[in-house]
Amino acid sequence: MKKILSLIALGLSINLVPFSASAHGPSPQKVEKSITIKADPAKVWAIVKDFGNIHSWHPGVASTKLEQKKDDNGDMATFRTLTFKDGGNVYEKLRSTDDAAMKVKYEIVTGTLPLTDYNASITVTKGENSGESTVTWVGRFYRLYKLNPPIPAGQDDETAIKAITGIFDSGLANLKKVAEDSK
């Protein structure tokens, strides 16, 4: 957990990065993490799909502000602002919530994490045994630095991957705890 918070703090020092407006390099990065939870998929999905309540299960998130707003195309959309416990933040847009597939998709609009053009999905599937679920969290993003090498420290692929890996690992571990503990 300490590691994640320090990574988030690192993100803070880079200022707000406009995610959608910026160009990026040719190598998108991917982090994919899964966990098995001893709880019914329907129950786990109810927690995961609740876009405005990620702070109820993610240990790195202090608070969530949920808003309904018009997006760039003038369509109503759901946005949330996560404030991390170390003070960093991200402003995210909900792309879709699919109850049949138990899949939620979202993207970062702006934020303090050391990466750009981030989009992600969380999917809940039936686990191997009855009463078990598998939760898979996949993120796609680019490093901060957009030109040819040399790449400045803190703006490389590794930094971006580490930040997301930390967020996914700690989030999934605590999601398991929350889902298994609650009746």
């Binding site: 160009a23 040719p26 190598s27 998108p28 991917k30 792309r95 796609r140 040819n148």
Partner: protein, 330 residues
């Protein structure tokens, strides 16, 4: 022009044109006589190329290439496959007869998009960061010409008459139309926001740019210069068109789907769910199949283009992209 005089190029071009016609006839005959195709899929996350036999829809070979391979170009004439390795900044040349790497060509900059001239004599390479196109002789890879284009050149493709190279400049929102003989820009066509993939139809009648940030494709009629924009799915990347120029297929990366559009009516005929984050797409026209490389799910989806239904998903490698024309016939 760095290496040859204009005059000799013109003559070469004429000879090349004759050869191209012959090659086209030969190719066409091959298409009819055998339905054997091979899809070469770049796996950016594990530095390999997966080879799918389209008759079996199975991976029959996996080839180690340079670091972070993205772009692909295949030559049925030469039985060669060219792969752009973004991070090792080179091109792997594969001999398709035994699927082994026979050459690695060092490139200044970061090669992404690749395209072969129809006569397979020239390999065009888009350098993403330095905003230029390199034109390499496939017979003598040390002979390189270059031209500066727009910002972040992505998809590139040559017209079937070998006259024009079309370049989608992602960050200047246009297509550069480059005369291949003189390697000069003759025209810029304004398209939608962030054109990434590009496709030139079989007769050269249509150019299509895939506009990522606008969720549209621009379909340009090269005879009338008319441009029509059509809405597709979220964050589309690449497109391909059927041989009869009637149907366009577009990968929607963040919808995990492929849109099939009727060119005449510009209407969506079908939206087909595929693997996650679909990127590169090529058609095996002889078998009525579309092959789609899925970056997110590390596989290739196969669509039956006669019914527009998903047939199967074939496991490939980490971060499959296959950016370019990737089906070779043997």
């Amino acid at each position: 022009m760095k290496t040859r005089s204009i005059k000799s190029l013109k003559i070469n071009h004429f000879i090349a044109f004759i050869f191209m016609c012959m090659a086209n006839i030969a190719c066409h005959a091959a298409t009819i006589s055998t339905h054997h195709g091979f899809a070469y899929i770049t796996n950016q996350g594990e530095d390999t190329v997966s080879v799918i036999d389209t008759a079996l829809n199975q991976v029959v070979d996996t080839i180690k290439v340079g670091k972070a391979p993205v772009g692909i170009a295949v030559s049925t004439t030469l039985q060669r496959v060219y792969v752009s390795n973004v991070e090792s900044q080179d091109i792997s040349v594969i001999d398709a007869s035994n699927n082994s790497v026979i050459d690695t060509i060092k490139i200044k900059g970061s090669p992404v998009g690749l395209a072969l001239s129809p006569d397979s004599k020239t390999l065009y390479i888009a350098d993403w960061f330095d905003n230029r196109i390199l034109a390499l002789s496939t017979a003598q890879t040390n002979i390189v010409r270059e031209i500066n284009v727009g910002d972040a050149p992505a998809g590139i493709m040559v017209s079937p008459d070998n006259q024009w190279l079309y370049v989608a400049n992602r960050d200047s929102n246009d297509i550069a139309v480059i005369e291949t003989t003189s390697l000069t820009i003759k025209k810029r066509i304004k398209v939608g926001k962030h054109p990434y993939g590009i496709f030139v139809s079989a007769s050269g009648k249509y150019i299509v740019s895939v506009n990522v940030k606008e969720d549209t494709v621009s379909i340009i009629n090269t005879k009338t210069n008319q441009q029509k924009k059509v809405n597709v799915g979220y964050h589309p990347y690449c497109a391909t068109m059927s041989l009869d120029e009637k149907t366009l297929y577009v990968t929607n990366t963040q919808d995990d789907s492929v849109s099939a559009l009727n060119i005449a009516t510009q209407k969506t005929i079908a939206t087909i769910n595929v693997g996650s984050t679909p990127e590169g797409i090529s058609l095996d026209d002889a078998n009525q199949r579309a092959y789609i490389a899925n970056w997110g799910s590390n596989n290739v989806s196969v669509i039956d283009t006669s019914s527009n239904k998903l047939l199967s998903n074939i496991k490939t490698g980490e971060k499959s992209r296959a950016f370019g024309q990737f089906i070779l016939r043997r």
